[in-house]
Amino acid sequence: MELRPSAPTGPAGPTRVADRTGAFDGAGRLVDYWATVYLRTWKGSVVSSFLVPLLYILAMGVLLGGFIKGDPSKLEGATSYLAFVAPGMVAAQAMTTVFGEVTYPVMGMIKWQRIYYSMIATPLTVGDIVFAQLGFVMFRVATVCAVFLAVMSPFGVFASWWGVLVAFFVQLLIGLAFATPIFALTAAMKDESAFSLVFRLGMIPLFLFSGAFFPITNLSAAMEWFARLTPLWHGVDLTRMLVLGTVDVSMAVVHVVYLGLLAAAGWWLTVRNLQRRLVD
Protein backbone atom coordinates (compact mmCIF):
# COMPACT_ATOMS: atom_id res chain seq x y z
CA MET A 1 0.00 0.00 0.00
CA GLU A 2 1.07 3.53 -0.51
CA LEU A 3 0.66 5.93 2.35
CA ARG A 4 3.74 7.78 1.88
CA PRO A 5 3.97 11.02 0.54
CA SER A 6 7.40 12.28 0.97
CA ALA A 7 8.79 11.14 -2.34
CA PRO A 8 9.77 14.01 -4.58
CA THR A 9 6.71 15.20 -6.35
CA GLY A 10 6.66 14.53 -10.02
CA PRO A 11 4.46 12.84 -12.56
CA ALA A 12 4.42 9.70 -10.41
CA GLY A 13 4.21 11.56 -7.13
CA PRO A 14 1.15 11.82 -4.94
CA THR A 15 -1.82 13.58 -6.42
CA ARG A 16 -2.01 17.12 -5.20
CA VAL A 17 -5.18 18.35 -3.68
CA ALA A 18 -6.58 21.08 -5.85
CA ASP A 19 -6.09 24.49 -4.38
CA ARG A 20 -9.16 26.42 -3.46
CA THR A 21 -11.14 27.57 -6.45
CA GLY A 22 -13.76 29.89 -5.00
CA ALA A 23 -15.94 30.97 -2.09
CA PHE A 24 -18.35 28.07 -2.49
CA ASP A 25 -15.70 25.40 -2.82
CA GLY A 26 -14.62 25.40 0.82
CA ALA A 27 -18.17 25.30 2.13
CA GLY A 28 -18.97 22.62 -0.45
CA ARG A 29 -16.32 20.38 1.09
CA LEU A 30 -18.33 20.47 4.31
CA VAL A 31 -21.54 19.22 2.70
CA ASP A 32 -20.64 15.61 3.46
CA TYR A 33 -20.04 16.46 7.09
CA TRP A 34 -23.40 18.15 7.52
CA ALA A 35 -25.22 15.48 5.54
CA THR A 36 -23.72 12.86 7.85
CA VAL A 37 -24.74 14.86 10.90
CA TYR A 38 -28.29 15.27 9.59
CA LEU A 39 -28.71 11.59 8.72
CA ARG A 40 -27.61 10.78 12.24
CA THR A 41 -29.82 13.32 14.03
CA TRP A 42 -32.94 13.92 11.96
CA LYS A 43 -35.03 11.34 13.77
CA GLY A 44 -34.34 13.01 17.08
CA SER A 45 -35.45 16.37 15.73
CA VAL A 46 -38.72 15.14 14.20
CA VAL A 47 -40.78 15.65 17.34
CA SER A 48 -39.49 19.11 18.20
CA SER A 49 -39.29 20.34 14.63
CA PHE A 50 -42.43 18.95 13.08
CA LEU A 51 -44.83 17.66 15.70
CA VAL A 52 -44.68 20.40 18.32
CA PRO A 53 -45.57 23.19 15.86
CA LEU A 54 -48.61 21.23 14.80
CA LEU A 55 -49.68 20.82 18.40
CA TYR A 56 -49.39 24.60 18.78
CA ILE A 57 -51.57 25.17 15.73
CA LEU A 58 -54.14 22.78 17.05
CA ALA A 59 -54.15 24.05 20.64
CA MET A 60 -53.69 27.77 20.13
CA GLY A 61 -55.04 28.31 16.67
CA VAL A 62 -57.98 25.94 16.46
CA LEU A 63 -59.07 25.17 20.01
CA LEU A 64 -58.16 28.36 21.89
CA GLY A 65 -58.88 30.41 18.78
CA GLY A 66 -62.42 29.01 18.77
CA PHE A 67 -63.17 31.21 21.80
CA ILE A 68 -61.80 34.33 20.20
CA LYS A 69 -64.25 36.25 18.05
CA GLY A 70 -62.08 39.17 17.10
CA ASP A 71 -62.99 41.96 14.81
CA PRO A 72 -60.68 41.63 11.73
CA SER A 73 -59.64 45.25 12.17
CA LYS A 74 -58.29 44.32 15.60
CA LEU A 75 -56.48 41.27 14.23
CA GLU A 76 -54.38 43.08 11.66
CA GLY A 77 -56.75 42.04 8.90
CA ALA A 78 -57.03 38.34 9.78
CA THR A 79 -60.52 36.90 9.44
CA SER A 80 -60.04 34.48 12.33
CA TYR A 81 -57.66 34.03 15.23
CA LEU A 82 -56.26 30.95 13.50
CA ALA A 83 -55.45 33.01 10.42
CA PHE A 84 -53.82 35.58 12.68
CA VAL A 85 -51.73 33.24 14.79
CA ALA A 86 -50.61 30.76 12.10
CA PRO A 87 -48.15 33.04 10.26
CA GLY A 88 -46.88 34.33 13.62
CA MET A 89 -46.15 30.82 14.73
CA VAL A 90 -44.30 29.97 11.52
CA ALA A 91 -41.98 32.91 12.07
CA ALA A 92 -41.56 32.05 15.74
CA GLN A 93 -40.75 28.48 14.78
CA ALA A 94 -38.07 29.68 12.37
CA MET A 95 -36.54 31.56 15.30
CA THR A 96 -36.68 28.73 17.85
CA THR A 97 -35.22 26.25 15.36
CA VAL A 98 -32.26 28.55 14.89
CA PHE A 99 -31.73 29.07 18.63
CA GLY A 100 -31.41 25.32 19.00
CA GLU A 101 -28.88 25.03 16.17
CA VAL A 102 -26.39 27.77 17.03
CA THR A 103 -26.12 27.48 20.81
CA TYR A 104 -25.27 24.08 22.31
CA PRO A 105 -24.17 22.42 19.04
CA VAL A 106 -21.76 25.27 18.30
CA MET A 107 -20.36 25.20 21.83
CA GLY A 108 -19.89 21.45 21.47
CA MET A 109 -17.91 21.94 18.29
CA ILE A 110 -15.71 24.51 20.05
CA LYS A 111 -15.21 22.92 23.44
CA TRP A 112 -16.42 19.38 23.86
CA GLN A 113 -15.74 17.58 20.62
CA ARG A 114 -13.43 20.29 19.28
CA ILE A 115 -14.59 19.53 15.76
CA TYR A 116 -13.83 23.05 14.55
CA TYR A 117 -10.18 22.41 15.39
CA SER A 118 -10.16 19.40 13.10
CA MET A 119 -11.69 21.52 10.35
CA ILE A 120 -9.22 24.40 10.58
CA ALA A 121 -6.32 21.93 10.48
CA THR A 122 -7.24 21.40 6.82
CA PRO A 123 -7.36 23.88 3.93
CA LEU A 124 -10.76 25.06 5.19
CA THR A 125 -10.96 28.57 6.63
CA VAL A 126 -13.16 29.91 9.41
CA GLY A 127 -15.19 31.69 6.73
CA ASP A 128 -15.86 28.35 5.00
CA ILE A 129 -16.89 26.75 8.26
CA VAL A 130 -19.33 29.53 9.13
CA PHE A 131 -20.76 29.55 5.61
CA ALA A 132 -21.38 25.82 5.60
CA GLN A 133 -22.87 25.73 9.07
CA LEU A 134 -25.24 28.61 8.32
CA GLY A 135 -26.19 26.71 5.17
CA PHE A 136 -27.09 23.74 7.33
CA VAL A 137 -29.10 25.92 9.72
CA MET A 138 -30.97 27.35 6.73
CA PHE A 139 -31.70 23.82 5.55
CA ARG A 140 -33.19 23.04 8.97
CA VAL A 141 -35.31 26.21 8.89
CA ALA A 142 -36.44 25.41 5.36
CA THR A 143 -37.59 21.89 6.16
CA VAL A 144 -39.33 22.89 9.38
CA CYS A 145 -41.13 25.88 7.85
CA ALA A 146 -42.05 24.06 4.64
CA VAL A 147 -43.76 21.35 6.68
CA PHE A 148 -45.46 23.96 8.85
CA LEU A 149 -46.80 25.90 5.88
CA ALA A 150 -47.90 22.73 4.08
CA VAL A 151 -49.87 21.54 7.11
CA MET A 152 -51.60 24.90 7.47
CA SER A 153 -52.76 25.03 3.88
CA PRO A 154 -55.94 22.93 4.41
CA PHE A 155 -57.12 25.36 7.12
CA GLY A 156 -57.92 27.98 4.49
CA VAL A 157 -55.87 30.73 6.06
CA PHE A 158 -53.73 31.61 3.02
CA ALA A 159 -54.75 34.45 0.77
CA SER A 160 -52.59 33.46 -2.22
CA TRP A 161 -50.09 30.79 -3.18
CA TRP A 162 -47.44 33.31 -4.19
CA GLY A 163 -47.77 35.07 -0.83
CA VAL A 164 -47.05 31.79 0.92
CA LEU A 165 -44.11 31.08 -1.39
CA VAL A 166 -42.55 34.46 -0.64
CA ALA A 167 -43.34 33.93 3.04
CA PHE A 168 -41.36 30.69 2.88
CA PHE A 169 -38.26 32.54 1.70
CA VAL A 170 -38.87 35.18 4.32
CA GLN A 171 -38.54 32.42 6.94
CA LEU A 172 -35.01 31.82 5.70
CA LEU A 173 -34.25 35.51 6.11
CA ILE A 174 -35.71 35.48 9.62
CA GLY A 175 -33.70 32.37 10.38
CA LEU A 176 -30.49 33.97 9.16
CA ALA A 177 -31.19 37.20 11.06
CA PHE A 178 -31.31 35.18 14.28
CA ALA A 179 -28.69 32.58 13.39
CA THR A 180 -25.78 34.90 12.74
CA PRO A 181 -25.95 37.13 15.86
CA ILE A 182 -26.49 34.18 18.17
CA PHE A 183 -23.76 32.17 16.46
CA ALA A 184 -21.47 35.18 17.01
CA LEU A 185 -22.52 35.32 20.67
CA THR A 186 -21.88 31.61 21.18
CA ALA A 187 -18.46 31.90 19.54
CA ALA A 188 -17.55 34.58 22.08
CA MET A 189 -18.96 32.79 25.13
CA LYS A 190 -16.58 31.05 27.49
CA ASP A 191 -18.89 28.12 28.18
CA GLU A 192 -22.51 27.04 28.04
CA SER A 193 -23.59 28.46 31.40
CA ALA A 194 -25.16 31.61 29.90
CA PHE A 195 -27.31 29.69 27.42
CA SER A 196 -30.14 29.33 29.92
CA LEU A 197 -30.26 33.13 30.08
CA VAL A 198 -30.19 33.37 26.29
CA PHE A 199 -33.24 31.11 26.16
CA ARG A 200 -35.16 32.44 29.16
CA LEU A 201 -34.48 36.14 28.73
CA GLY A 202 -34.00 36.14 24.97
CA MET A 203 -35.92 33.54 23.07
CA ILE A 204 -38.98 33.01 25.26
CA PRO A 205 -39.90 36.70 25.74
CA LEU A 206 -39.40 37.24 22.01
CA PHE A 207 -41.58 34.26 21.29
CA LEU A 208 -44.37 35.54 23.56
CA PHE A 209 -44.30 39.31 23.00
CA SER A 210 -43.32 39.91 19.39
CA GLY A 211 -46.78 39.85 17.96
CA ALA A 212 -47.01 36.18 17.12
CA PHE A 213 -49.93 35.49 19.49
CA PHE A 214 -51.60 38.88 19.83
CA PRO A 215 -51.40 42.23 18.06
CA ILE A 216 -48.65 44.29 19.67
CA THR A 217 -51.07 47.27 19.78
CA ASN A 218 -52.48 45.48 22.83
CA LEU A 219 -49.27 46.23 24.69
CA SER A 220 -48.71 49.48 26.54
CA ALA A 221 -47.30 52.20 24.32
CA ALA A 222 -43.75 51.79 25.64
CA MET A 223 -43.84 48.02 25.33
CA GLU A 224 -45.27 48.27 21.87
CA TRP A 225 -42.38 50.40 20.69
CA PHE A 226 -39.98 48.00 22.28
CA ALA A 227 -41.68 45.12 20.50
CA ARG A 228 -41.36 46.97 17.19
CA LEU A 229 -37.60 47.00 17.64
CA THR A 230 -37.30 43.23 17.99
CA PRO A 231 -36.30 41.22 14.93
CA LEU A 232 -39.05 38.69 15.50
CA TRP A 233 -41.75 41.35 15.24
CA HIS A 234 -40.34 42.40 11.85
CA GLY A 235 -40.39 38.76 10.79
CA VAL A 236 -43.88 38.10 12.12
CA ASP A 237 -45.35 41.23 10.55
CA LEU A 238 -43.72 40.49 7.19
CA THR A 239 -44.86 36.87 7.22
CA ARG A 240 -48.38 37.83 8.22
CA MET A 241 -48.85 40.47 5.53
CA LEU A 242 -47.67 38.00 2.90
CA VAL A 243 -49.83 35.13 4.08
CA LEU A 244 -52.96 37.26 4.61
CA GLY A 245 -52.47 39.27 1.42
CA THR A 246 -52.28 42.59 3.27
CA VAL A 247 -48.87 43.65 1.96
CA ASP A 248 -47.75 47.16 2.78
CA VAL A 249 -44.78 47.61 0.44
CA SER A 250 -42.96 50.31 2.37
CA MET A 251 -43.28 48.38 5.65
CA ALA A 252 -42.18 45.19 3.87
CA VAL A 253 -39.04 46.94 2.64
CA VAL A 254 -38.27 48.12 6.18
CA HIS A 255 -38.64 44.57 7.47
CA VAL A 256 -36.41 43.06 4.77
CA VAL A 257 -33.72 45.70 5.21
CA TYR A 258 -33.79 45.35 9.01
CA LEU A 259 -33.50 41.57 8.91
CA GLY A 260 -30.91 41.68 6.12
CA LEU A 261 -28.68 44.10 8.00
CA LEU A 262 -28.94 42.02 11.16
CA ALA A 263 -28.01 38.88 9.25
CA ALA A 264 -25.05 40.55 7.54
CA ALA A 265 -23.69 42.17 10.72
CA GLY A 266 -24.09 38.92 12.62
CA TRP A 267 -22.31 36.98 9.89
CA TRP A 268 -19.35 39.32 9.98
CA LEU A 269 -19.21 39.10 13.78
CA THR A 270 -19.45 35.32 13.73
CA VAL A 271 -16.44 34.94 11.45
CA ARG A 272 -14.49 37.44 13.53
CA ASN A 273 -15.36 35.87 16.88
CA LEU A 274 -14.77 32.31 15.73
CA GLN A 275 -11.47 33.30 14.15
CA ARG A 276 -10.38 34.80 17.46
CA ARG A 277 -11.53 31.74 19.32
CA LEU A 278 -9.89 29.11 17.12
CA VAL A 279 -6.82 30.81 15.66
CA ASP A 280 -4.65 32.37 18.34
Binding site: P5, S6, A7, A18, Y33, R114, A121, L124, T125, V279
Partner: protein, 312 residues
Protein backbone atom coordinates in the same frame (compact mmCIF):
# COMPACT_ATOMS: atom_id res chain seq x y z
CA UNK B 1 12.26 22.82 -10.18
CA UNK B 2 13.71 20.92 -7.24
CA UNK B 3 15.91 23.37 -5.45
CA UNK B 4 17.83 23.25 -2.22
CA UNK B 5 15.23 25.41 -0.54
CA UNK B 6 12.50 22.91 -1.34
CA UNK B 7 14.29 20.18 0.52
CA UNK B 8 13.90 22.21 3.68
CA UNK B 9 10.42 21.16 4.79
CA UNK B 10 10.22 23.51 7.75
CA UNK B 11 12.49 26.44 8.41
CA UNK B 12 12.15 28.83 11.33
CA UNK B 13 14.43 31.73 12.09
CA UNK B 14 14.17 33.61 15.38
CA UNK B 15 10.58 32.45 15.75
CA UNK B 16 8.55 34.04 18.55
CA UNK B 17 5.04 33.47 19.85
CA UNK B 18 3.38 35.58 22.51
CA UNK B 19 -0.06 35.37 24.06
CA UNK B 20 -0.59 38.82 25.52
CA UNK B 21 2.30 39.41 27.88
CA UNK B 22 3.23 35.73 28.02
CA UNK B 23 6.03 34.64 25.69
CA UNK B 24 5.49 30.98 24.86
CA UNK B 25 8.24 30.79 22.22
CA UNK B 26 11.16 33.16 22.64
CA UNK B 27 13.21 32.96 19.48
CA UNK B 28 13.99 29.54 18.06
CA UNK B 29 15.72 28.40 14.88
CA UNK B 30 14.65 25.11 13.34
CA UNK B 31 15.38 23.40 10.03
CA UNK B 32 13.65 20.12 9.20
CA UNK B 33 14.82 18.27 6.10
CA UNK B 34 12.86 15.98 3.82
CA UNK B 35 12.49 12.43 5.11
CA UNK B 36 13.79 13.32 8.52
CA UNK B 37 12.17 12.45 11.81
CA UNK B 38 12.45 15.52 13.98
CA UNK B 39 11.48 15.97 17.61
CA UNK B 40 10.76 18.75 20.06
CA UNK B 41 11.54 17.42 23.53
CA UNK B 42 10.65 19.34 26.66
CA UNK B 43 8.38 19.50 29.67
CA UNK B 44 4.85 20.85 29.64
CA UNK B 45 4.91 24.58 29.03
CA UNK B 46 8.22 24.55 27.12
CA UNK B 47 6.58 26.03 24.01
CA UNK B 48 6.41 22.82 21.97
CA UNK B 49 2.70 22.90 21.23
CA UNK B 50 2.76 26.63 20.44
CA UNK B 51 5.54 25.93 17.95
CA UNK B 52 3.60 23.04 16.43
CA UNK B 53 0.48 25.14 16.01
CA UNK B 54 2.47 27.79 14.17
CA UNK B 55 3.94 25.11 11.91
CA UNK B 56 0.44 23.73 11.32
CA UNK B 57 -0.56 27.19 10.04
CA UNK B 58 -3.33 27.64 12.61
CA UNK B 59 -1.57 30.10 14.89
CA UNK B 60 -0.09 33.35 13.57
CA UNK B 61 3.62 33.94 14.08
CA UNK B 62 4.31 36.82 16.48
CA UNK B 63 7.72 37.60 14.98
CA UNK B 64 10.54 35.92 13.13
CA UNK B 65 10.42 33.95 9.93
CA UNK B 66 8.64 30.66 9.31
CA UNK B 67 8.47 28.72 6.04
CA UNK B 68 6.64 25.45 5.65
CA UNK B 69 7.26 23.65 2.35
CA UNK B 70 8.73 26.95 1.23
CA UNK B 71 5.49 28.82 1.92
CA UNK B 72 4.62 31.55 4.39
CA UNK B 73 1.75 30.49 6.70
CA UNK B 74 0.50 34.07 6.92
CA UNK B 75 -0.08 34.07 3.16
CA UNK B 76 -0.57 30.46 2.08
CA UNK B 77 -2.25 28.92 5.14
CA UNK B 78 -4.78 26.82 3.19
CA UNK B 79 -2.15 25.54 0.73
CA UNK B 80 0.20 24.58 3.56
CA UNK B 81 -2.56 22.85 5.49
CA UNK B 82 -3.47 20.94 2.35
CA UNK B 83 -0.02 19.37 2.26
CA UNK B 84 0.59 18.58 5.93
CA UNK B 85 -1.00 16.06 8.27
CA UNK B 86 -1.85 17.01 11.83
CA UNK B 87 -2.28 14.69 14.77
CA UNK B 88 -3.24 17.02 17.63
CA UNK B 89 -2.56 16.43 21.29
CA UNK B 90 -6.25 16.36 22.20
CA UNK B 91 -8.51 14.24 20.06
CA UNK B 92 -10.74 16.19 17.70
CA UNK B 93 -12.64 13.19 16.35
CA UNK B 94 -16.41 13.29 15.97
CA UNK B 95 -17.23 10.78 18.66
CA UNK B 96 -20.80 10.26 17.50
CA UNK B 97 -19.76 9.21 14.01
CA UNK B 98 -18.31 5.84 13.24
CA UNK B 99 -14.66 5.23 12.52
CA UNK B 100 -14.96 5.10 8.73
CA UNK B 101 -17.12 8.24 8.51
CA UNK B 102 -14.56 10.17 10.52
CA UNK B 103 -11.96 9.45 7.87
CA UNK B 104 -14.37 10.09 5.03
CA UNK B 105 -15.60 13.52 6.11
CA UNK B 106 -12.08 14.62 6.95
CA UNK B 107 -10.80 13.60 3.53
CA UNK B 108 -13.57 15.64 1.97
CA UNK B 109 -12.30 18.77 3.76
CA UNK B 110 -9.26 18.52 1.50
CA UNK B 111 -11.42 18.41 -1.59
CA UNK B 112 -10.39 14.83 -2.39
CA UNK B 113 -12.94 13.12 -4.66
CA UNK B 114 -15.47 10.92 -2.87
CA UNK B 115 -14.43 7.60 -4.42
CA UNK B 116 -10.79 8.37 -3.77
CA UNK B 117 -11.46 9.21 -0.12
CA UNK B 118 -13.37 5.96 0.34
CA UNK B 119 -10.49 3.95 -1.07
CA UNK B 120 -7.88 5.76 1.00
CA UNK B 121 -10.02 5.35 4.12
CA UNK B 122 -10.02 1.57 3.73
CA UNK B 123 -6.25 1.51 3.15
CA UNK B 124 -5.61 3.64 6.19
CA UNK B 125 -7.92 1.60 8.41
CA UNK B 126 -5.88 -1.41 7.39
CA UNK B 127 -2.67 0.45 8.15
CA UNK B 128 -3.71 1.42 11.69
CA UNK B 129 -5.34 -1.97 12.28
CA UNK B 130 -8.85 -0.65 12.70
CA UNK B 131 -10.56 -2.38 9.76
CA UNK B 132 -12.63 -4.49 12.12
CA UNK B 133 -13.75 -1.38 13.96
CA UNK B 134 -14.72 0.53 10.83
CA UNK B 135 -18.41 0.57 11.74
CA UNK B 136 -17.93 1.26 15.46
CA UNK B 137 -18.78 4.60 17.00
CA UNK B 138 -15.67 6.51 18.01
CA UNK B 139 -16.90 7.00 21.58
CA UNK B 140 -16.71 3.22 22.03
CA UNK B 141 -13.02 3.03 21.09
CA UNK B 142 -10.15 2.78 23.57
CA UNK B 143 -7.69 5.66 23.89
CA UNK B 144 -5.09 3.83 21.82
CA UNK B 145 -7.56 3.12 19.03
CA UNK B 146 -8.69 6.75 18.95
CA UNK B 147 -5.09 7.82 18.67
CA UNK B 148 -4.50 5.41 15.78
CA UNK B 149 -7.62 6.70 14.08
CA UNK B 150 -6.34 10.25 14.47
CA UNK B 151 -3.05 9.18 12.89
CA UNK B 152 -4.92 7.53 10.02
CA UNK B 153 -6.97 10.69 9.57
CA UNK B 154 -3.85 12.84 9.44
CA UNK B 155 -2.58 10.71 6.52
CA UNK B 156 -5.72 10.98 4.38
CA UNK B 157 -4.27 13.77 2.21
CA UNK B 158 -0.94 11.94 1.79
CA UNK B 159 0.91 14.74 3.53
CA UNK B 160 4.47 15.81 2.84
CA UNK B 161 5.00 16.38 6.54
CA UNK B 162 3.23 14.71 9.45
CA UNK B 163 2.96 16.73 12.67
CA UNK B 164 2.36 14.75 15.85
CA UNK B 165 1.79 16.64 19.09
CA UNK B 166 2.41 14.32 22.04
CA UNK B 167 1.36 11.25 20.05
CA UNK B 168 1.30 8.81 22.97
CA UNK B 169 0.52 10.99 25.97
CA UNK B 170 -2.19 9.38 28.06
CA UNK B 171 -1.87 5.92 26.50
CA UNK B 172 -1.03 2.78 28.40
CA UNK B 173 2.37 1.17 27.65
CA UNK B 174 0.99 -1.45 25.28
CA UNK B 175 -0.99 1.07 23.26
CA UNK B 176 2.09 3.30 23.09
CA UNK B 177 4.11 0.52 21.53
CA UNK B 178 1.46 -0.08 18.87
CA UNK B 179 1.48 3.63 17.99
CA UNK B 180 5.28 3.69 17.91
CA UNK B 181 5.31 0.70 15.60
CA UNK B 182 2.99 2.46 13.13
CA UNK B 183 4.98 5.68 13.27
CA UNK B 184 8.17 3.74 12.77
CA UNK B 185 6.71 2.21 9.61
CA UNK B 186 5.84 5.65 8.30
CA UNK B 187 9.38 6.74 9.02
CA UNK B 188 10.69 3.73 7.12
CA UNK B 189 8.51 4.77 4.18
CA UNK B 190 10.25 8.12 4.17
CA UNK B 191 7.51 10.27 5.64
CA UNK B 192 8.86 13.43 7.24
CA UNK B 193 7.77 13.29 10.87
CA UNK B 194 7.78 16.18 13.29
CA UNK B 195 6.76 15.34 16.81
CA UNK B 196 6.67 16.80 20.26
CA UNK B 197 7.06 14.68 23.33
CA UNK B 198 7.99 14.83 26.94
CA UNK B 199 8.91 11.16 26.91
CA UNK B 200 12.61 10.59 26.39
CA UNK B 201 12.08 6.99 25.29
CA UNK B 202 9.71 8.18 22.58
CA UNK B 203 12.23 10.73 21.37
CA UNK B 204 15.03 8.14 21.39
CA UNK B 205 12.96 5.63 19.45
CA UNK B 206 11.54 7.88 16.81
CA UNK B 207 13.72 10.92 16.30
CA UNK B 208 16.74 11.19 14.02
CA UNK B 209 17.34 14.63 15.37
CA UNK B 210 15.76 16.67 18.08
CA UNK B 211 15.84 19.94 19.90
CA UNK B 212 15.45 20.20 23.64
CA UNK B 213 13.15 23.07 24.57
CA UNK B 214 12.80 24.75 27.90
CA UNK B 215 10.86 27.94 28.71
CA UNK B 216 10.38 28.85 25.07
CA UNK B 217 14.00 28.41 24.01
CA UNK B 218 16.06 25.65 22.42
CA UNK B 219 18.68 24.61 24.95
CA UNK B 220 20.36 21.86 22.91
CA UNK B 221 20.04 20.02 19.63
CA UNK B 222 21.40 16.99 17.84
CA UNK B 223 20.72 13.28 17.48
CA UNK B 224 19.77 11.45 20.70
CA UNK B 225 23.22 9.84 20.90
CA UNK B 226 25.02 13.10 20.17
CA UNK B 227 23.06 14.86 22.89
CA UNK B 228 23.78 12.14 25.42
CA UNK B 229 27.46 12.13 24.52
CA UNK B 230 27.71 15.90 24.74
CA UNK B 231 25.72 16.47 27.90
CA UNK B 232 25.99 13.34 29.99
CA UNK B 233 28.29 10.46 30.92
CA UNK B 234 28.12 6.96 29.51
CA UNK B 235 26.54 5.44 32.62
CA UNK B 236 24.46 6.53 35.56
CA UNK B 237 24.42 4.90 38.99
CA UNK B 238 21.11 5.43 40.76
CA UNK B 239 21.09 5.12 44.52
CA UNK B 240 18.18 5.27 46.89
CA UNK B 241 18.68 5.76 50.61
CA UNK B 242 16.20 5.89 53.42
CA UNK B 243 13.78 8.80 53.42
CA UNK B 244 15.46 12.02 54.45
CA UNK B 245 19.02 10.71 54.14
CA UNK B 246 19.73 11.97 50.62
CA UNK B 247 20.86 15.49 51.50
CA UNK B 248 23.16 14.20 54.23
CA UNK B 249 24.71 11.42 52.13
CA UNK B 250 25.27 13.41 48.95
CA UNK B 251 28.43 15.31 50.07
CA UNK B 252 30.12 12.01 50.90
CA UNK B 253 29.65 10.81 47.32
CA UNK B 254 30.62 13.88 45.35
CA UNK B 255 34.13 12.73 44.50
CA UNK B 256 32.90 9.38 43.14
CA UNK B 257 31.31 10.83 40.00
CA UNK B 258 31.87 13.47 37.36
CA UNK B 259 28.56 14.96 38.42
CA UNK B 260 25.96 14.24 41.03
CA UNK B 261 22.24 15.05 41.10
CA UNK B 262 20.05 14.82 44.18
CA UNK B 263 16.41 14.15 43.32
CA UNK B 264 13.65 13.84 45.89
CA UNK B 265 13.66 10.03 45.66
CA UNK B 266 17.19 9.15 44.57
CA UNK B 267 20.77 10.26 43.96
CA UNK B 268 22.25 10.03 40.46
CA UNK B 269 25.98 9.53 39.99
CA UNK B 270 27.18 10.39 36.49
CA UNK B 271 30.23 8.30 35.68
CA UNK B 272 31.82 6.23 32.95
CA UNK B 273 31.71 3.13 35.18
CA UNK B 274 28.60 2.78 37.32
CA UNK B 275 29.46 -0.58 38.90
CA UNK B 276 32.75 0.76 40.14
CA UNK B 277 31.04 3.80 41.65
CA UNK B 278 28.53 1.64 43.50
CA UNK B 279 31.31 -0.60 44.80
CA UNK B 280 33.02 2.46 46.23
CA UNK B 281 29.82 3.62 47.87
CA UNK B 282 29.66 0.34 49.75
CA UNK B 283 33.38 0.54 50.63
CA UNK B 284 32.62 3.78 52.42
CA UNK B 285 30.17 2.00 54.65
CA UNK B 286 27.12 3.56 53.07
CA UNK B 287 24.19 1.26 52.58
CA UNK B 288 21.69 2.34 49.91
CA UNK B 289 18.26 0.67 49.96
CA UNK B 290 18.44 0.28 46.21
CA UNK B 291 21.12 0.72 43.61
CA UNK B 292 21.27 0.17 39.88
CA UNK B 293 23.38 1.08 36.88
CA UNK B 294 21.90 2.23 33.62
CA UNK B 295 22.95 3.99 30.45
CA UNK B 296 22.47 7.73 30.18
CA UNK B 297 19.27 8.84 28.51
CA UNK B 298 17.78 12.07 27.23
CA UNK B 299 16.19 12.46 30.63
CA UNK B 300 19.70 12.97 32.01
CA UNK B 301 20.50 15.43 29.25
CA UNK B 302 17.43 17.40 30.16
CA UNK B 303 18.23 17.30 33.86
CA UNK B 304 21.73 18.54 33.12
CA UNK B 305 20.56 21.36 30.89
CA UNK B 306 17.67 22.63 32.95
CA UNK B 307 18.15 21.28 36.45
CA UNK B 308 14.69 19.76 36.24
CA UNK B 309 13.13 16.45 35.30
CA UNK B 310 10.94 16.13 32.21
CA UNK B 311 7.87 14.64 33.77
CA UNK B 312 6.91 16.19 37.04
Amino acid sequence: MTTGAEESMIRAVDLHKSFGAFEAVRGIDVDVRRGESFGFLGPNGAGKSSTMRMIAAVSPVTSGELRILGMDPAVDGPSIRGRIGVCPQEDTLDTELNVRDNLYIYGRYFGIARAEVRQRSEELLEFVQLTEKAGAKVEDLSGGMKRRLTIARSLINRPDVLLLDEPTTGLDPQARHVVWDRLFRLKQQGVTLVLTTHYMDEAEQLCDRLVVMDKGLIVAQGSPTELIRAHSTREVAELRFRIGEHEAVAPKLEDLAERLEVLPDRILLYTSDGEEAIAKVHERGLDPVMSLVRRSSLEDVFLRLTGRTLVD
